[in-house]
């Protein structure tokens, strides 16, 4: 099965490390994929705040393009950014559930020679790795088990809500299961899916910083060495604002925040560069990760 890959805007800027690590892991696991031709922005949360028809039409163009690119059967479209994932998924679901929406959007698409027939299955890479490729297969490929590393998996909101796809809306476990297979130790904490505030850090910063402060403090308190995310915006918020949070609220937060695909890559034996590690503000300290034979993980 060949996947179509929808990068989304963030993976080309603040989330570049996510794209680099994701593609490296897909390649090393021999999971076939190709990028969606001429994809456009999903519209995120902003578009639907201005004009709903435009928002659905914008997202639906991507779905229609996917059908053009993959003429038969069900299409698995990988969307790594949680916002893109949800917007595409919501468009797909609402087009299916509300005939009037479907009609309106398709008539809009028709004008540009496009049409959406309902063949796209929007997938998150976490789901693809754990449920399609399978944990057992990943286990077999792990070269450097991340022994002793305590990981707080942070799922954020839009990957698990409002639609139930592959995990629970508030207490998901997929990433924790993956982390375990990589040899690390998942930390059970209650804020796995509590919102990071999204773009609030850029608009009403006080509120945004407070939300992130709560998340970071709790992860540290539960003894996590690192936070893992599956969304470029969450990662940006949690990592890049740590210094400001510390200054503003007199805290001493200091925890690395990486993409789950980066940690996967480390365990699979990929290099720092392949995983975009140099793009992080804070390098995870992974000294303890050694090959059973005593050999250090690549560049670490």
């Amino acid at each position: 099965m060949k996947y179509l890959y929808y990068p989304g805007c963030s993976l080309r800027s603040t989330g570049r490390a996510y794209e680099e690590s994701l593609l490296s892991v897909l390649k090393v696991l021999d999971i076939p994929f190709e990028e969606l031709n001429d994809w456009n922005c999903c519209g995120a949360t902003s578009y639907v705040s201005i004009d709903e028809t435009d928002a659905f039409a914008l997202a639906a163009r991507n779905l229609a393009l996917a059908e053009l690119q993959s003429p038969d059967g069900t299409i698995n479209l990988i969307a790594p950014c949680s916002a893109c994932f949800l917007v595409l998924l919501k468009t797909e679901r609402y087009l299916e559930s509300y005939p009037d929406v479907r009609e309106k959007i398709n008539s809009t698409l028709d004008k540009a020679g496009l049409h959406y027939h309902g063949r796209v299955n929007v997938r998150h890479p976490l789901d693809v790795f754990v449920n399609d490729y399978g944990l057992e297969n990943i286990t077999k490929r792990v070269k450097y088990p991340l022994k002793g590393l305590k990981v707080a998996s942070y799922y954020g909101c839009q990957m698990v809500r409002p639609f139930k796809t592959f995990d629970h809306s508030h207490y998901p476990e997929t990433m924790d299961r993956l982390v375990k297979v990589l040899g690390a130790e998942p930390v059970d904490w209650p804020l796995k899916t509590r919102c990071c505030g999204g773009s609030l850090t850029g608009t009403i910063q006080e509120a945004g910083l407070r939300l992130n402060r709560l998340l970071l403090k709790e992860a540290e308190k539960r003894g996590a060495d690192i936070m893992l995310t599956c969304c470029p915006l969450c990662q940006h918020n949690l990592e890049c604002y740590q210094e400001r949070i510390n200054r503003k609220f007199d805290e001493k937060i200091n925890i690395p925040v990486a993409f789950f695909t980066q940690l996967m890559g480390v365990a699979l034996g990929l290099s720092e560069k392949e995983l975009g590690m140099q793009r992080l503000f804070k390098m995870p300290s992974l000294k303890q990760i050694t090959h059973p034979k005593g050999e250090m993980a690549n560049a670490w």
């Binding site: 629970h168 508030h170 207490y171 904490w189 209650p190 804020l191 709560l214 709790e218």
Partner: protein, 670 residues
């Protein structure tokens, strides 16, 4: 086209009812009446305010005599409601009751339509159909069926117990069947009862022992109904008596065997204490269990698992009551009526993951707390939490698995009151601060509101807001080590975080897991949520659509003890009506074979679900046993030569109804 043939001259009286404004405000009754007057065969057509009233009925009787009417039609409400009333009136007027036909222009017309013109046209069509139908009506004899005086009651909770005692005290023989080893149901597990705070055991156990000792009651516990055959007055029931591996005749409940069991400590979660304590494989559910007979759990007993137990229990029993070879037993009984009192199950709190049940040890369900505060409970009534602490603050969360479209849509009716009761008991036992998180307080019962007042005076906190989450996420030092309840205090309009030591989930009531199987076995209906369906929500609350089968208690819907007892009494009274009248009238809607038209093809034989049809091999004709026929009419529709007919639903009657409905074109239809 409708000759009156062998029926003589047909003289129809048509009466249309206003039902106050119920019909007359939507249907132009005058227009219908005038229109019907113009149809052939109609002698009288008139309207009246309330046809079901005495003057209404007398009007029919008078007209029958004065105008020699021989067909009567009343257009009013549903025949399921008043057909019997009018048939009786017709009979009193000196006419065979089956010359009567009813037209439903209330439930099927005025209550469901808003356009007067369309509704009036529909009423005309339906009335015309009835006029054409009655031409084919015949004089019929009402069927009578004898009622066997014994009663079966299924389920030995408070409803079953009360119904059994009521009937037994009236001198009727009752079989009370309970699938657990003891009767008592949920009520036996409760500590105190609201609003009076009398102890549940104190008021229940005397009734339990009355049941055990009553000469008219045969109590079979650890038993289930396996099969139901027959019909009202003549049910044949198979009861499966599960082996308890203890001879009920010999055991006196001394419990020596339990003490001597090779297990020194219990290993199996105790059902009666909702898993808060452990029991041995040989056990008695609780001290006042009725009957007071031990039971051996096959699943956990070493003798059954390995066959190599020392069987110390056998040695301990000087009456030689233990019998590992006991087999399941099937008992066949005959009864005339059945009362189902199969109760409810509590909502599984782990279905709402936000409240942390099963994750945080100090989150309890209300049923667990009932046992926890009970003097004979797992802690002897001392409130010790799962982590060994005594709670200083307690949060009670209402509506868990109630009023929630994600789980159960309905209000469970009892939770508000039992939560108030538990709040009182917890405060009494621990002097803790108690917080109630509620959506609405529903205290609509005798002395219930007063009980709520009492709790307010006791300074229990009432926060109006549904809890979003229980977690151990502390953001203040005062929250460390506590469970934090997050809810909006909607009356103040602010989100609150309340740290507590103990959380009580007021779980709702839902249908028993096997309620669908049970209702199929007894051929009754369920409402959409799965509770047994009553015949009429207001006027026949304990009857079902199957004659002779009644329902009472929480199997019909969430209910507290007083309501369950009241229903149980009502169901017993309904059964007594049948038993004491000795017989029941049945619709003469049975099928019969017109002998010289039957080709003897056997089609009908396999179709009848009640094996009422046999074949006379000598005559090569089918023959229907009227006593067995229940009048579904399936054979009538299947007979290839049209030789089978059904009283009250003959082909001609239905064809003429179709004619009547379609022959005339009306604005609503054309």
């Amino acid at each position: 086209m409708h000759g009156n043939g062998h029926n003589g001259t047909v003289r129809i009286g048509f009466y249309i009812c206003h039902c106050g404004h119920n019909i007359a405000s939507i249907v132009d009754v005058k227009a219908v009446s005038e229109y019907i007057k113009s149809l052939s065969g109609v002698v009288i057509s008139c309207e009246y305010k309330y046809m079901c009233s005495d003057p209404g009925q007398e009007l029919i009787q008078k007209d029958i005599k004065e105008h020699s009417l021989n067909r009567i039609i009343v257009a009013s409400c549903s025949p399921l409601l008043h057909e019997h009333t009018f048939r009786t009136a017709v009979e009193k007027g000196g006419l065979n009751p089956y010359y009567f036909q009813m037209v439903n222009i209330r439930e099927d017309v005025s209550w469901v339509h808003t356009d007067m013109k369309a509704a009036t046209e529909k009423a005309k069509d339906l009335s015309r159909a009835a006029v054409q139908r009655v031409f084919h009506h015949k004089s019929l004899e009402t069927k009578h069926v004898k009622i066997h005086p014994d009663v079966l009651i299924v389920g030995g909770g408070i409803a079953g117990i009360h119904a059994a005692l009521t009937l037994a005290n009236a001198g009727k023989k009752v079989y009370l069947i309970e699938r657990n080893p003891t009767i008592g149901g949920h009520m036996a597990m409760f500590d105190k009862t609201f609003p009076t705070l009398d102890c549940a055991a104190c008021i229940l156990t005397p009734k339990m022992s009355q049941v055990k000792n009553h000469p008219n009651i045969i109590l079979w516990t650890y038993s289930e109904v396996a099969k139901v055959d027959g019909y009202v007055g003549n049910y044949k029931i198979s009861i499966r008596r599960k082996p308890r591996y203890v001879n009920e005749e010999l055991c006196v409940g001394c419990m020596d065997c339990i003490e001597k069991c090779v297990y020194k400590e219990g290993k199996t979660p105790d059902e009666f204490n909702v898993g808060l304590s452990k029991r041995k494989p040989i056990y008695i559910p609780f001290p006042q269990a009725t009957p007071q007979i031990v039971v051996i759990d096959r699943e956990t007993c070493i003798e059954f698992k390995s066959g190599r137990c020392k069987k110390t229990c056998v040695e301990a029993c000087d009456r030689k009551a233990i019998d590992f070879k006991q087999k399941e037993e099937i008992k066949e009984i005959e009864v005339g009526t059945i009362i189902l009192t199969t109760g409810y199950q509590t909502f599984d709190a782990s279905r709402v993951p936000f409240y942390g049940y099963g994750k945080y040890p100090n989150v309890y369900t209300s049923l667990e707390v009932e046992r926890l505060v009970n003097a004979s409970g797992p802690t002897g009534g001392e409130l010790i939490l799962r982590d060994g602490r005594h709670p200083k603050t307690v949060g009670i969360i209402h509506c868990v698995g109630s009023r929630d479209k994600n789980t159960n849509r309905w209000c469970s009716r009892t939770c508000c009151m039992y939560s108030l009761k538990l709040a009182h008991l917890l405060k009494e036992h621990t002097d803790a601060e108690v917080y109630n998180f509620y959506i609405d307080i529903r205290a609509a019962g005798k002395s219930y509101e007063e009980f709520y007042d009492k709790l307010l005076d006791e300074n229990v906190h009432f926060i109006r807001g549904r809890v979003a989450e229980v977690s151990d996420w502390a953001v203040r030092p005062s929250e460390e080590g506590k469970l934090i309840i997050r809810a909006e205090d909607t009356l103040i309009g602010i989100v609150r975080r309340v740290p507590v030591d103990m959380v009580v989930l007021a779980v709702g009531m839902e249908p028993q897991a096997d309620s669908q199987d049970v209702r199929r076995m007894f051929n009754i209906s369920c409402s959409t949520e799965g509770f047994f369906l009553e015949r009429h929500p207001k006027l026949a609350p304990v009857d079902t659509f199957t004659d002779g089968i009644f329902i009472a208690g929480a199997c019909q819907g969430p209910k507290d003890i007083p309501d369950s007892v009241a229903q149980a009494g009502a169901a017993a009274a309904q059964a007594l009506i049948l038993i004491d009248s000795g017989e029941i009238e049945l619709e003469p809607n049975t099928a019969y074979v017109v002998q010289n038209e039957c080709s003897g093809c056997r089609t009908c034989l396999t179709i009848c679900p009640f094996t009422a049809i046999s074949r006379d091999e000598a005559k090569q004709k089918a023959f229907i046993n009227e006593a067995l026929c229940k009048g579904c009419g399936t054979c009538v529709a299947a007979c290839p030569s049209g030789a089978i007919k059904q009283n009250l639903f003959e082909d001609e009657m239905i064809f003429s109804e179709i004619d009547g409905l379609l022959k005339m074109e009306s604005p609503a239809c054309c």
